[in-house]
Assembly symmetry: C2
Homo-oligomer: 117 residues x 2
């Protein structure tokens, strides 16, 4: 996946192709945004996120979520893991249940990055 280390020099054509060497956001920030993006890149996960956010308690356990999205428990658990790894939700084990809540800071920060592009 993505070599991106070739030092390939710009051909410096005649009419187009300004140098503009290595502008853009730093490599690791791009990586972070991409991770969040990938997590948001599945309608089911967006759905899960919004279900948790919209819930009265601001949190939800997996058993709350399987029915609304119509997927198996295992699959929902997998999606929650992806969301958690992207920093979009946090997991808190309370008794038998695992409560997931939205990490507003990540949303805010992601929104800020998008605006700052």
């Amino acid at each position: 996946m993505t070599i991106t280390d070739a030092p390939i020099d710009a051909p410096a054509a005649d009419g187009c192709c300004a140098p503009e060497a290595d502008a853009g956001m730093p490599r690791d920030e791009a990586e972070r945004l991409a991770k969040v993006g990938k997590a948001l890149g599945d309608p089911t996960r967006v759905r899960l996120l919004s279900l948790i956010a919209a819930g009265a308690r601001g949190e939800a356990c997996v058993c709350d979520l399987t029915a609304p999205v119509g997927l198996s428990q295992g699959t929902v658990s997998h999606h929650m893991r992806v969301l958690a790894e992207a920093g979009l939700v946090e997991r808190e084990q309370r008794g038998k249940w695992a409560y997931y809540s939205v990490v507003r800071g990540t949303l805010e920060q992601t929104a800020a990055v998008l605006r700052g592009l």
Copy 2:
């Protein structure tokens, strides 16, 4: 690809699992956000987007972009297509070159949706 039409009823357990039926954002909005998310879900595309945004002219043609990301012309073209279909960039053919520019409105709107979650 995602069945998501099973009418599966909530089991209504005893200690957890509040109804909270079909809350969350409307289905099509989730789909739209997911499309943008998917487009942002690849580091290379984030890189491309930021390169265009950071460029002095606020736009770039493909030949400007292949070198910085170190990928083949065909691949970059493909990525630009994905970005365009997500509404993140706009294409304008000018002479031999195709100039891509960032659609700030989409960024703003996406940021707003994230904040509103």
